[in-house]
């Protein structure tokens, strides 16, 4: 069964959950019609606040996402939740289990939850995640929570797409050396020590606060707060909500929001260009001149860097015609 782009677009704007779900599937599968719908939806995006939840596997991101969503629902806001779990690089399959921790949200028609496999993308998200954020934004969700693949040190794609990025950790997850490794400490707007009823929580809190003290002043002089939570019991979640709200207000007051939005747009554009250019380049290498270039490389007549420049020149020339 195919849905016409115009029809899907109208149904999504009307709040038809089945249509939004179908559109997300099409986006994930790289469907051409989906691109057409996204094009139409673009002018309807930009209203939602996007919150990223990232952190090590087992730190309680799903449970926190559930509690956060409940809190925002209690305040009358509508919520979209995107949960990304890893796709097996060997079989392409995935077991997406985040819903298990979000049972309290089931049955609320104003909460839309979607589980996604990472489908080969590195960085803790999938290629389609940002499109899905945009769909839920256009769908009218006030808040979109994006839970990344259990991340450690390099899975920081989320920072490009979220307004407020929460880094979740837990007591006993590693010593302070783990915490000062590059990456994860630099991307948090809010830090969360979850499972704070466990032994060593005070130490983890203190370690984090100390590390953050020496972190170079962030843009707009935002000092990231460290919040202790016990997500399972709902403890500290209201404080986390307030921290996210303070960050959101800070973005607006300091003028950082505009910059952040531009950053998001740029990341989005680069992501799409990446795919587009590598697809075009891939095609070029299957054709006459491209094929010849590869053959010359194999015979050591041209080095790969020069060959790449040739391909770029060829693509630019072709685009100019």
């Amino acid at each position: 069964m195919r849905d016409a782009p115009k029809d899907l677009y109208e149904r999504v704007l009307k709040g038809d959950r089945r249509a939004a779900a179908r559109l997300i599937t099409m986006v994930e599968n790289g469907d051409r019609d989906a691109r057409e719908v996204l094009r139409m939806l673009h002018s309807r995006t930009g209203r939602a606040h996007i919150v990223g939840l990232t952190g090590s596997p087992g730190s309680g991101k799903s449970t926190l996402a559930c509690r956060l969503a409940q809190g925002y629902r209690a305040a009358g806001k509508t919520v979209g939740v995107i949960c990304v779990d890893p796709t097996s690089p060997f079989t392409g399959g995935a077991l997406l289990g985040d819903r298990v921790r979000m049972q309290e949200l089931a049955g609320d028609p104003e909460v839309f939850i979607r589980s996604m496999g990472s489908r080969g993308a590195l960085g803790g998200l999938s290629v389609a995640t940002n499109d899905v954020i945009n769909i839920l934004d256009a769908f009218g969700k006030d808040l979109v929570i994006v839970e990344t693949v259990g991340a450690g040190q390099v899975e920081i794609e989320i920072v490009k797409y979220a307004h407020t990025c929460c880094v979740v950790t837990m007591p006993g997850a590693g010593d302070e050396i783990q915490a000062i490794k590059a990456g994860i400490l630099e991307i948090g707007d809010v830090f969360v020590v979850n499972k704070a009823d466990r032994e060593g929580a005070q130490r983890t809190l203190a370690d984090l606060e100390m590390m953050l003290e020496t972190r170079p002043g962030g843009p707009g002089d935002w000092k990231p707060p460290v919040v202790a939570t016990v997500a399972l019991e709902g403890e500290g979640v209201d404080e986390l909500e307030r921290a996210i709200e303070r960050h959101s207000a800070h973005l607006l007051e300091s003028g950082m929001m505009a910059e952040k939005t531009e950053q998001r747009m740029k990341a989005e554009l680069l992501g799409i260009l990446d795919l587009m250019v590598s697809r075009e380049a891939g095609r070029a290498l299957e054709e006459g001149e491209g094929k010849e270039l590869v053959r010359r490389m194999a015979e050591r007549q041209i080095d790969p860097h020069s060959a790449a420049e040739e391909v770029v020149k060829y693509l630019l020339k072709r685009a100019g015609n």
């Binding site: 959950r17 089945r18 796709t87 399959g93 049955g107 839309f112 979607r114 496999g117």
Partner: protein, 131 residues
């Protein structure tokens, strides 16, 4: 890009047994499918809503509580009500053959996989039906 088979495996009603459904989940994952698991003790309404939000191709129902003749027809009814009758419904668990026949004949279930089923039979069945 390739289309991936998405499956929602669920445990409706008061039933705490999830060993079987998790083994099926792993087998489907290893066959390259995206498997979403509901967790235990879900209401029919919530399961159908979740299946719709996840836009799955397959709804797999696991039942070992004996309530299959009440819950499965309720779920397939809801699917029709919400315009999602094109979802392929399969079920497994402790479901006697006579009941299984009725569920397939009258309640829109494509196939029941009982105890002793080889997981590759489920994989093959789904791959064949969703070709």
């Amino acid at each position: 890009m390739d289309r991936k088979i998405r499956v929602f495996l669920c445990k409706p009603g008061l039933d705490g047994h999830d060993r079987g459904v998790l083994i099926v989940g792993q087998a489907l994952r290893d066959a390259g499918m995206e498997v979403i698991y509901s967790g235990l003790k879900q209401t029919s309404e919530n399961l159908v809503e979740a299946a719709i939000q996840e836009d799955v191709d397959v709804l797999g129902i696991s039942l070992l509580s004996g309530a299959h003749m009440a819950l499965i027809p309720r779920i397939t009814e809801l699917l029709v009500e919400r315009g999602a009758e094109d979802m392929l419904v399969i079920a497994g668990g402790v479901i006697p053959p006579d009941d299984a026949e009725v569920l397939v004949r009258e309640h829109g279930v494509a196939r029941i996989f009982g105890p002793g089923t080889n997981t590759s039979d489920i994989v093959d069945f789904l791959a064949e039906r969703l070709k």
